[in-house]
């Protein structure tokens, strides 16, 4: 292995990239120029005996109106002579076509040539005999004037059918002159045409209004768009209209509750979304779905995408849909497509704005002891001597005010009466109220966006700019985002299309807020009666009060001032450039090259001010003493400045060959190509001590020397902050060959297959040499199109079966013995290293096989439509652990040892309850997924403590709850008891002594059943939607008293169950809360905390959001030159409608300090 960072290959690759960048920038400017030329509808011509097609081309150049007509018709065209200056288009066309054997019609911005009507006196004489058969050629367009391909053309009353090709043209031989042709397609209204001896037909089809959305839309896998009815895979489409139902600054957040099969589990400890598509797929690998934006995996922060710029989202669920993404598709794929202009569409301007306000957080959500109750316990603990060690602490760390008062009383410094009155004065305080008043506020978000889109026949464009500002509910925390976006498509000449896009996002954040006050007590105050900001003691009161007399800097911590002492900001710039060239080599065969460049630069700057508590504390801790007086500090005076930079640069290139054609009975959609992708990240951090913001100077203390600390005298190094000085860098490279072929026979039978070979630099040479193929195959049968199918109740019915493999990467593993270098080893400061990978040449990607059955159906008039799906996923080579003899120096070996299986079903139903002036739709999403470990040989620990990390036990779900079997409280002392091997146990030995077989499996932590019900009403311009979400079949363990934590760390570890505790014999009949244990035995607490008596059902149904909007009628708007105007109101996080547990806990957030608050948004959208 001689390959290092300076690989000559890299430069060659970069030279190519430089070239592409130049191309991209050029094309971008070309597009800008072209846009400005668009929009003229006047024509100047001076022609003499010119071919009609040449004249029409000139009109196209001048106006953007293209022409379209069957070739046989054009062959009959007469030469044109005309001289006109700035004539109106219609006038000019009328003049031109006056002398032609055919006429025209305007469809959108297309001039469609058509046969003159029969009674037209200028009708040319048909060359065909008036009776018998004739060969008919024709062209079909849709409402927008675009060629309508794959329209089936049937001779009424016969089985003879043909189909239009990609240009909307068809040729039908030997058609009876009096035949009636029926034009049908999935997304247009059936249309009948009497042949009446015409050999050339121009047919204009109307879009089916009530067409099933899933069926009418195309599917976008990120690689290609396919007709939905010819795709075998399972894809969920989320349209712009659906996305607009929700208000959010993050596009992914919008998907919750509206996307079938996309589950938002909540992390138990952070509350963060853990996205899952069809349950769990991996144990140690990357768990989130792949996010693709505009055809390429998105490496940056998804917050850089302005949700208003998103056109639609496709969620790829099964192997047939997702396996085209290969080793990254194991968890499913979310394909986001941003908005584009449309060809032949006049300029459209849109403006939107919304404001969201959310309540202050509910600091009383977490059940804690009442302050007065806590004071009583402190008094009790004091009398028992629990604070003696703390009162004698050599470090003089703080004790609570109550303990200070009690200690003063004990030392005889104050009277008993004073002591009790001082304590009683504290009882009515509640710090949470003060924090809500001074440290928290209502959250307020603003979003603005403006965009222009449009296009002529040669180009389309979309420009947008957006600005978002979020005021966090923590005072001092804000962020904002500015986005600029331009997407243009340009037809260079026939068959050659150029795409160019530029997106720029700048985000700024400030996080100076304080939400956590160390060493605070619930009865403390932040502001005194005199209005002065109070200190929260971090050391003994007396010590803090008097230390400055000895020359020490003030050692007090004032929470309300701290915000001003620090300045923590972050700024992020994201640039995304996209360019593409598409060239039609032959009919239906396109060569496509696209390239994307993405760069995100983030800089975090944290200035911990010279007057901040942090700096003052360090200076005092490392004080240099002279006869007991402060004589300077080993810790440099001045501010601390931490700067973290991270830079992400990715390049993607894709060259693909696409083939799409339809014949009478066949259709083929195929793609093959190569993907190359590189993502580099570089990070560095710097930390300056004794920094002066004014002069830019700093100190260079010795970070490896240990200095004595005050007051205890123990020695420590100065190195204080977490990140310090560092430099990191990663390079991820992928090279992929892919192909996907779908073939449809008679519009009824479709088979598809995809194969992909991935190579990455993750695993080292051995695995790369054996690039792993991931494949899938699928079949679809449109049963309802069979002639034998006569089931009128379900006029649309089709069946799909797919099978294939998706992959997953565990980026932390390598096949090589690798070491990781660190700088600055403890005490010596030398560089040092640790072995991070034990060599395992057999390591390979994880593979998940997935089988999918789907039934798509619709009743008459699409009254009820939807799909039923069943899937089975089997993770075969999942990376797991295996125990090996620790004498080797290694205890656990990683390898592809594990297996798991996930079974489930997805049901999506759309019901039209009322379809009149009042429109009422109901959408029901039902998703079921259960996972089970099939094979796992590694060690498993922490069964009872796990809830946010996997506990892989064979036969059980990945995220399981295990509990001690509760045996009630001991009637004699109220101690917790559990069953160990069927005998009551009260030995409180450490958790390791209790065997797994003595634990109860209490159920799964993640919900097996999830879904939503969305009702939508529309009456005139008023639209009302509300979304109900449900999660069923899972469990959580609620928190309760933990005496050792309570006594060890104080009130923040308290629980209101304290008041329910066992106090005297007999209490055990009505309570399970153990008696207090003053010496705080961890395992005694654990017996209760991890017992099944605290396991609660987590099933719940919540009203997630309501959306009410009003669209002003068009007539009203016209006078204000608006095209559309909508105002809306949106309310989110409305609350739980039902829960199985009788505890007042949100099962999504059982351990969070507070759940997301209710929020209300008002918005406006205008188009003109």
């Amino acid at each position: 292995m001689k390959k290092t960072f300076t690989n000559p290959c890299r430069y060659r690759a970069l030279n190519g990239l430089v070239f592409v960048k130049v191309l991209l920038i050029l094309s971008f400017f070309i597009c800008m120029v072209a846009v400005s030329a668009y929009g003229q509808a006047t024509v100047s011509l001076s022609e003499k005996n010119t071919d009609l097609s040449k004249v029409l081309k000139k009109i196209k150049q001048q106006t953007g109106y293209s022409y379209f007509g069957p070739a046989p018709l054009l062959r009959t065209a007469q030469k044109v002579t005309i001289d006109v200056k700035d004539g109106q288009l219609i006038d000019v066309l009328d003049r031109i076509f006056q002398s032609q054997p055919f006429t025209y019609m305007l469809v959108g911005t297309t001039i469609v040539l058509k046969e003159r009507e029969r009674d037209d006196p200028k009708k040319p004489v048909s060359s065909q005999a008036p009776s018998g058969n004739l060969d008919i050629s024709g062209s079909v367009v849709n409402e927008k004037g675009e060629p309508a391909d794959r329209v089936s053309v049937n001779i009424k009353g016969t089985k003879r059918t043909t189909v239009t090709d990609a240009n909307g043209e068809f040729l039908f031989k030997k058609v009876p002159v009096d035949a009636v042709l029926v034009f049908t397609s999935v997304n247009t209204q059936p249309h009948e045409v009497n042949v009446n001896g015409q050999a050339n037909l121009a047919v204009n089809l109307k879009t089916q209004v009530d067409a099933l959305q899933d069926v009418t839309l195309t599917f976008n896998t990120g690689y290609q768009t396919m007709k939905a009815n010819e795709a075998t895979g399972s894809v969920v489409v989320v349209t712009k209209e659906q996305l607009d139902q929700r208000v959010a600054t993050n596009i992914i957040d919008k998907l919750e509750g509206i996307t079938n099969g996309l589950v938002f589990n909540k992390d138990a400890l952070t509350g963060e979304n853990k996205l899952r598509i069809r349950g769990e797929s991996t144990i140690n690998g990357y768990q989130s779905p792949l996010i693709v934006v505009d055809g390429f995996p998105y490496d940056g922060d998804i917050n850089n995408i302005n949700p208003n710029d998103v056109e639609n989202i496709y969620v790829l669920k099964d192997a047939a849909a997702a396996s085209i993404w290969g080793v990254q598709a194991g968890n499913g794929v979310i394909v986001i497509t941003t908005r584009r202009g449309k060809l032949n569409q006049p300029a459209r301007y849109e403006f939107s704005a919304n404001f969201t306000i959310a309540d202050k957080p509910d600091l009383f959500y977490a059940p804690r002891m009442a302050p007065s109750e806590w004071i009583d316990l402190e008094i009790d603990l004091f009398q028992r001597g629990n604070y003696n060690a703390a009162l004698n602490d050599v470090n003089k760390r703080a004790v609570s005010p109550v303990v200070e008062i009690l200690n003063s009383r004990k030392l005889g410094q104050i009277s008993a009466a004073d002591s009790s009155s001082m304590i009683n004065a504290l009882r009515s305080n509640d710090l949470r109220n003060e924090m809500l008043e001074h440290l928290y506020r209502k959250q307020f978000n603003q979003q603005y966006q403006f965009n222009i889109s449009g296009g002529n026949n040669r180009m389309s464009y979309y420009f947008s700019t957006g600005y978002d500002r979020r005021q966090s509910n923590i005072v001092g925390n804000n962020d904002s985002r500015m986005t600029l976006n331009s997407q243009t498509t340009y037809l260079l000449f026939k068959g050659m299309e150029l795409r160019a896009g530029l997106s720029y996002t700048e985000s700024n954040g400030v996080t100076n807020g304080i939400s956590n006050i160390p060493n605070s007590q619930p009865y403390m105050r932040l502001i005194g009666d005199n209005g002065l900001e109070l200190a929260i003691p971090q050391h003994r009161q007396m010590f803090e009060d008097t230390i400055s007399n000895r020359g020490f800097p003030d050692w007090k911590y004032y929470p309300l001032q701290e915000k001003k002492n620090n300045d923590r900001t972050s700024r992020s710039h994201n640039t995304r450039l996209l360019t593409g060239l598409k060239y039609s080599i032959l009919r239906g065969l396109n060569l496509d090259f696209s390239y994307q460049y993405n760069r995100t630069f983030t800089r975090q700057r944290r200035l911990t001010g010279a007057n901040s508590y942090f700096v003052r504390d360090r200076m005092n801790t490392f004080a240099i003493l002279n006869n007991g007086l402060y004589a300077g500090s080993n810790f440099p005076a001045g501010a601390l400045l931490d700067i973290d930079n991270s830079d992400l640069v990715s390049h993607y290139g894709r060259l693909s060959l696409q083939y799409n054609r339809a014949w009478i009975a066949h259709a083929i959609a195929a793609i093959a190509g190569i993907d190359v992708r590189e993502t580099r990240t570089e990070g560095s951090g710097n930390q300056l001590y004794g920094y002066s913001e004014e002069n830019g100077t700093f100190a260079t203390p010795n970070l490896f020397t240990q200095y004595p600390t005050y007051p205890s005298g123990s020695a420590r190094t100065l190195d204080a902050l977490a990140n310090g000085v560092y430099s990191t860098g990663t390079i991820n490279r992928f090279r992929t060959y892919f192909t996907n072929i779908a073939y449809t026979l008679k519009q009824r039978y479709t088979v598809s297959t995809s194969v992909r070979f991935d190579g990455t630099n993750y695993f080292g040479v051995k695995t790369n040499d054996k690039t792993l193929p991931l494949w899938s195959t699928g079949a679809k049968w449109d049963i309802s199109k069979e002639s034998f199918y006569r089931f009128k109740l379900l006029p649309t019915l089709s069946l799909r079966v797919t099978y294939g493999y998706q992959g997953n990467l565990d980026q932390n593993r390598s096949a090589y013995a690798t070491i990781r270098m660190y700088s600055g080893a403890g005490f010596t400061g030398l560089p040092y290293a640790a072995i991070v990978n034990i060599p395992n040449p057999e390591l390979r990607w994880e593979k998940t096989g997935q089988l999918n059955f789907a039934l798509d159906f619709a009743t008459a008039k699409n009254r009820i439509s939807g799909s039923l799906q069943y899937f089975r996923k089997k993770g075969k080579d999942l990376i797991g652990e295996e125990l090996i003899d620790p004498t080797t120096g290694v205890t656990i070996l990683f390898g592809n040892f594990s297996q798991m299986r996930t079974d489930g079903a997805d049901i999506a139903l759309t019901i039209k309850n009322i379809d009149r002036e009042l429109d009422w739709n109901t959408t029901i999403n039902f998703n079921y997924a259960t996972d089970k470990i099939i094979r796992y040989t590694g060690p498993v620990g922490g069964h009872v403590t796990a809830f946010s990390f996997p506990v892989p036990i064979v036969g059980k779900p990945l995220y399981s709850l295990f509990s001690y079997r509760w045996a009630g409280l001991d009637p004699s002392d109220g101690g917790p008891r559990i069953y160990v091997a069927d005998t009551i146990n009260k030995r409180y030995s450490s958790s390791g002594a209790i065997k797994v077989s003595d634990l109860e499996y209490s159920g799964r932590y993640n919900p097996p059943i999830t879904g939503s019900v969305i009702n939508h009403f529309r009456w005139k311009g008023i639209s009302l939607g509300f979304n109900i979400m449900y999660k069923l079949g899972h469990y959580f363990r609620r928190s309760s008293v933990n005496y050792s934590a309570l006594i060890g760390t104080g009130w923040p570890a308290s629980h209101s169950d304290y008041s329910l505790r066992w106090r005297q014999p007999g209490d055990e009949v009505h309570t399970n809360v153990p008696s207090i244990a003053y010496t705080g035995s961890l395992s005694r607490d654990d017996y209760y905390r991890f017992s099944n008596v605290l396991v609660e059902k987590a099933d719940h149904i919540r009203l997630q959001f309501v959306n009410l909007s009003y669209s002003f009628p068009k007539q009203m708007l016209r006078s204000f030159s608006f095209q559309a105007l909508q105002v809306y109101f949106y309310a989110n996080n409305l609350g739980i409608l039902w829960r199985a547990s009788d505890q007042d806990i949100d099962p999504d957030y059982p351990y969070m300090p507070y759940p997301p608050q209710r929020s209300y948004s008002f918005g406006i959208k205008a188009g003109f």
């Binding site: 390959k3 290092t4 960072f5 690989n7 290959c9 060659r12 690759a13 190519g16 592409v20 060690a389 260079l492 050659m496 060239l581 060239y583 060569l591 090259f593 290139g653 060259l655 004595p708 005298g713 123990s714 020695a715 990191t728 860098g729 990663t730 390079i731 490279r733 090279r735 630099n761 790369n768 090589y816 013995a817 690798t818 070491i819 270098m821 660190y822 600055g824 080893a825 005490f827 010596t828 030398l830 040092y832 290293a833 640790a834 072995i835 991070v836 034990i838 125990l883 003899d885 620790p886 004498t887 080797t888 120096g889 290694v890 070996l893 620990g941 450490s990 390791g992 002594a993 035995s1081």
Partner: protein
Amino acid sequence: MKLKNIITAVFGVVFITCCVSCKKGWLDVKPEKSLVLPKTIADFQALLDNTDANRGAGIRFNTWQPSLDEVGADDFYVTSSDWNSSQTHTKNAYIWASEIFPDVDPGNRLDWEYPYKRIFYCNIVLEGLENIVPVTVSEQIAWKQAKGHALFLRAYSHYTVAQLFCKPYTKNQAATDLGIPLRLESDINIPSVRSTVQATYDQIIADLRSALELLPVATPIANNPTYIYRPTQAATNAMLARVYLSMEDYENALKYANESLNLYSTLINFNLFRRKGANGQFLNGHTYTRTTNTEILFDNSLIDYSILRTNRCIVDSSLYKMYDSSDLRKTMFFFLINNRPGHSFFGSYIGNGAVYFSGLATDEMYLIRSECNARLGNVGAAMYDLNTLLRNRWDEKMPYTDIAETDPDKALRIILNERRKELCFRGLRWTDLRRLNKDTRFAVTLTRQINGNTYTLEPNSKYYVLPFPPEVIQLSNMQQNPR
């Protein structure tokens, strides 16, 4: 059309660029800068320099030396309630139970895993260095330093395992007594087999002697802490002295202690380091640290099990009483915490209450040389060393009178008592008990009182040899120690 040709050419160029850039080597770059395939001397040295206390990815060469021997020794006792809340295996080791390691909970095998993990690192280094031919003089020095370092650490680690998991060295039984598995290659597929006690000690001594040839003379000085983490000749000699002493080979122990002290013999006068309170009284503890304690030859510290923490373990009162009131160690080693039934150990030689120093230092060398001299009949030399040490421990305000014992037996008793007093909580007592119990003059029976039960450990009991962790037996089929 001309443009068409241009476009076709552009596609062609792009395609070729793609193909060129996608040559094989393109996927061979390492995915992370800090990931390194170790191949240079510096890489291997870096593996041995892992002394970080916070981030070091599961290995630390300066801390986490096995400490169940200290748990089982008689320097301290704990209260029943503190015992109840300690980790299971430390509770078992404390009462010399027949089972030490519970059959679940991998966190409890550190006394086995850590030394073998260090040995694994050393073997990786030794094998890697075999593939490097140092050319320049500075490369040769670095290569020798790294190799000597790895050999030293491998011997040191094997030795710590041998003190817990195989019988003490007894000359006429060592060839048949079961030793510990010796791991001399990094290949994890090589099965572990038990050696004999003789082979175990032979390997330890062979590694140390090889290291001695390679390592520099450099002295551990306070301002260059590198050399208390990178072993020197002085440290290697000291380790050899320690090993030979445990084998009751007093001639060799004397030889190497002498060699070590010839290279480095600094002692700290405790009077310089005692702290004075506001009223001039002595305060507990030290102000010196790992890097300012100039007695340290090689730094290491014990696994900090909760049962060993300052706030749990109470100094055995008979040990505490052994110190003279003029002995500064009495106030510098021990202090009182409120509501504790006895004195607590201040925690060390390195100014840190949380970890107990267990490495090599000059004071141990003085004591070894003194003991060996006494045993070999050089009582005068023995007393000279002892007095040198004690003078540095005595309150300067209370004049120190040299001990002038001439009877070899009495002298030996005095020396062994001073050894106990100087080297308490250093992880050495268990080995001393195993060695000294063989001599009826010094044999002691240990007792513990926990939850109303009394536990005893007879001299030369089989319980002085701990059982292998059950998983080790399961996964390797090695023979278990009798319990």
